[in-house]
């Protein structure tokens, strides 16, 4: 109780400091204020050096929150005990991370650890390149867990050959198709293995009343307003679309100028015109999309395969007969099996600002903390919680969540902070989750990488996302039948004229320079 109050007081103080620094308006003033709380940590870590100090070290962490509210209670305390630290978090909701990270960078109100998940954002990129953060590349091998980060991952997460933080390692390619197995069985359909069979299944789900309630109230696909993490990009991989860029003989082609992209748009258009997809998908949010499946209004979900467990949980009490099957090897006619990789498996960086982490000794202490986070014990803590409280585990190290509500409150918010989220001995006892993990691991062999991910294009980092809007808008309009192919091509031409051409040239030059 007492410590909780202390923590609250600390957080309030930190909040005030942030507020003050935000008000002071310019970078220099902001930095001075922000240091107030972290300066104290500096002392503690500094005296201890790399050796384990007796006193717990205070570490502040500007972290991204993927759930509705920050973690409460016990788990954070356990982590503090295990790592001999005193943690204070500033949480940034995932939905507003761009503006919050940008304003934090602009006002210098940072923390010892800053979670950066949007590495292609121009201000994040220029902050990294400016030397605002420590370059950690040379230090990683001093720590047992960090040492295990593969050379490929390090290279992908680097900017101009320098690694400015510990990469958050994600599975390379985690998407696939989740489909109502019970509906397929009822209608006598096979598990789809090709895009045509998938279309047939979607058609049957829409027209043949798979839930048998005598009403025309189901669709095939449920999708959301996201051309990347929704269905579009995964379907695109099936049709042979490259991941953002294709490069051949030093010539770069953006994905939306390829045949595969066009085929994918036509496929989606077919789904839309036939009513085999929720007609509002262009404005549907993720939770609504998932609810549609959970409530038995749709039977096909394309997204991260591990969502299946969650979807089945959501359906409990609503669609009790629901059986989900996952497919990860769908192909289009004449296309090899392939699946795009989100950011080449880099979930972001844990970066350490020089303004907060003052010297090498302090950096090593914080790195030690991150190294500890990657250990089996802390992974179990941040994934499943505390044994006996949140989950139980059997001899096979298969964990079952026993208190779902408490887990959602205390553990789930921490899941996004794990530096690595696969390849641990402890695993979920849930069959669906195990199957998802197996399929995701299998996907890695077919992953399509973005060849330019770690390369630099000035125009891309400053105007890339503005320009991307032209393409995104045109793609939706094509699918909804508001423009035709010629008009789509005209939009692509507009993209080239407004800066796309420079992006292509800059990437080609950078690609050449990188020794290809």
């Amino acid at each position: 109780m007492e410590t909780k109050r202390m923590k609250q007081a600390g957080l309030t103080l930190l909040g005030c400091a942030l507020l003050l620094s935000a008000c002071s308006g310019n970078g220099a003033g902001g930095q001075a204020e922000g240091k107030g709380s972290a300066g104290a940590n500096a002392g503690a870590a500094g005296t201890g050096g790399a050796a384990e100090p007796a006193e717990p070290v205070s570490i502040t962490w500007l972290n991204v929150l993927h759930t509705a509210s920050p973690p409460t209670g016990t788990v954070v305390k356990k982590i503090e005990e295990a790592t001999n630290t005193k943690l204070s978090f500033s949480w940034i909701p995932d939905a507003s991370k761009e503006e919050r990270i940008n304003t934090s960078l602009a006002s210098g109100s940072l923390a010892d650890i800053v979670t950066l998940t949007i590495l292609d954002n121009s201000s994040v990129r220029s902050a990294l390149k400016s030397g605002m953060f420590w370059e950690v590349g040379p230090y990683l091998d001093e720590f047992p867990n960090l040492k295990g980060i593969s050379a490929d991952t390090r290279k992908s997460a680097s900017i101009e050959g320098k690694l400015y933080g510990v990469p958050l390692q994600k599975a390379l390619a985690r998407n696939g198709v989740i489909i109502r197995k019970d509906w397929l069985d009822k209608l006598g359909l096979p598990l789809p293995k090709t895009t045509d069979e998938l279309l047939q299944a979607a058609k049957a789900f829409t027209e043949q009343d798979p839930d048998g309630n005598g009403m025309d109230d189901t669709t095939g696909f449920t999708d959301r307003s996201d051309l990347v993490y929704g269905a579009f990009k995964t379907l695109g991989s099936y049709f042979g679309t490259p991941n953002v860029w294709k490069v051949e003989n030093g010539k770069a082609t953006p994905e939306f100028e390829t045949e595969g992209y066009l085929n994918t748009m036509n496929y989606m258009k077919q789904l839309y015109d036939g009513g085999y997809i929720n007609q509002d998908f262009a404005v549907t949010a993720k939770t609504d999309q998932q609810q549609k499946l959970a409530q038995g209004k749709a039977g096909i979900y394309v997204g991260a395969l591990f969502d299946s467990k969650n979807l089945l949980n959501m359906a409990k009490g609503v669609q009790d007969g629901m059986e989900l099957a996952m497919v990860n090897d769908i192909t289009a006619p004449g296309q090899p099996r392939a699946l795009w990789s989100a950011n080449n498996g880099i979930g972001g960086l844990l970066a350490f600002p020089r303004s907060e982490v003052k010297d090498e000794a302090e950096l090593k202490r914080v790195l030690k903390f991150v190294d500890d986070l990657m250990s089996e014990d802390i992974y179990a803590l941040t994934t499943y919680g505390i044994e006996g409280v949140h989950y139980s585990v059997d001899a096979d190290k298969a964990a079952t969540i026993t208190n779902q509500d408490l887990w959602q409150q205390e553990v789930q918010p921490l899941a996004g902070s794990r530096p690595k989220d696969y390849d641990y001995a402890i695993h979920d006892a849930d069959k669906l989750k195990q199957e998802a993990d197996r399929l995701i691991a299998e996907n890695a062999d077919y992953a399509v990488l973005n060849p330019f991910y770690s390369l630099e294009s000035q125009t891309w980092s400053t105007q890339g996302s503005e320009l991307q809007k032209i393409i995104t808008d045109a793609t939706y309009k094509f699918i909804l039948g508001k423009i035709d192919e010629a008009q789509f091509k005209a939009e692509v031409e507009k993209w080239r004229k407004s800066g796309g051409q420079s992006i292509i040239e800059e990437y080609e030059a950078a690609y050449k320079q990188a020794g290809h």
């Binding site: 310019n26 970078g27 940008n102 201000s123 220029s126 400016s130 407004s498």
Partner: protein, 321 residues
């Protein structure tokens, strides 16, 4: 004032100045308590409205946060050139102006009309009840209002579309049609703000001298006549003041509302300066560029207010300053 001070020709100019200064000092001393009372408000405006304006200089710099305000290089009018050269600029300007005109023509007269109607209602209780019910939506946030609309207007099971379908009409995709965006936007503003904006006009109407109505009654004026010849002219200054203030916000349509309605399909008519500043500036980190847009918006607003004020004065009204 000036003439009266300069009038005694016998005094030398120096003496006049001196006496004026003394006069002013005396005024200060006499009213020191009043000035003290102004002080907090004055400080507020200096601290929160005038000092931050210094930040506007980043519109003329390539602002890099880690270089700081002083360290970032000057680039002159580069960002303004980019703003005016970019094709999005015309789209933003067009969308903003069209929405503003719809706002002034469709939304602005409604509360006046409504206040007049309410004023004619006999039953006091009825009048109060209607007024209260109507201004309740004002206290809801845009997120709620847009979400309610989303649920109602959705093509997949939205009430409106179900109703259309049940009588055999085709479904309308309100949410993803550029044609419907503006009406949806204006409709939501009316629903949310109508009752609230009525309050000021009702207050103005209740201040109208009853003798005027009595005189009109004596002349045998009908209700409509009284409305036209007594009520409306009496509240004209209020209407004009509010109109001028509204014009000042021409390019300032409000970020939140439009951002919630904006999507890939309706962007060509929905993107306005406020949403563009957010996406280009804050999300993309182009702080200098978005400051430029903000500055441009502010200057246009200022110019329009001055213009409207001058027009109002020409028409014999008081204006706002």
């Amino acid at each position: 004032m000036k003439d009266s001070l300069a009038a005694p020709a016998s005094r030398s100019p120096g003496a006049a100045l001196k006496s004026r200064a003394a006069h002013r000092w005396k005024g200060w001393r006499r009213d020191k308590l009043l000035y003290l009372m102004i002080l907090p408000g004055f400080l507020y405006f200096v601290a929160f409205k005038y000092l931050p304006m210094g930040g506007l200089i980043i519109a003329f710099k390539d602002y890099q946060p880690f270089l700081g305000l002083g360290g970032s290089p000057w680039v002159g009018l580069k960002h303004f050139e980019r703003l005016f050269a970019e094709p999005t600029f015309l789209m933003l300007l067009r969308n903003t102006i069209v929405l503003f005109l719809m706002d002034v023509l469709l939304v602005f007269p409604l509360p006046i009309l409504f206040a007049l109607l309410l004023n004619e209602a006999r039953a006091r209780r009825f009048r109060n009840a209607v007024q209260t019910l109507l201004y309740l939506p004002h206290f809801m946030s845009w997120v709620i209002i847009v979400s309610i609309c989303y649920v109602f207007l959705s093509v997949d099971g939205g009430v409106v579309n179900e109703a259309l379908a049940s009588v055999g009409l085709p479904r309308i995709d309100f949410l993803t049609s550029p044609e419907w965006l503006r009406f949806m936007y204006i409709g939501q503003i009316i629903w949310k703000e109508l009752g609230w904006s009525t309050i000021i006009f009702i207050a103005a109407i209740s201040a109208v001298d009853p003798q005027l109505y009595e005189a009109a009654d004596m002349d045998g004026a009908s209700r409509l006549r009284k409305m036209w010849h007594v009520t409306l002219p009496a509240i004209r200054p209020v209407i004009i003041t509010l109109l001028i203030l509204k014009i000042g916000h021409t390019l300032d349509l409000g970020f939140e509302h439009m951002y919630l309605l904006l999507n890939s399909i309706n962007r060509e008519v929905a993107e306005i300066f406020d949403t563009y500043i957010y996406t280009a500036g804050l999300k993309n980190g182009q702080l200098s560029y978005s400051t430029t847009i903000g500055l441009f918006k502010g200057l246009v607003g200022l110019a329009l207010v001055m213009l409207a004020n001058r027009l109002a004065k020409k028409m014999g009204e008081d204006g706002v300053y």
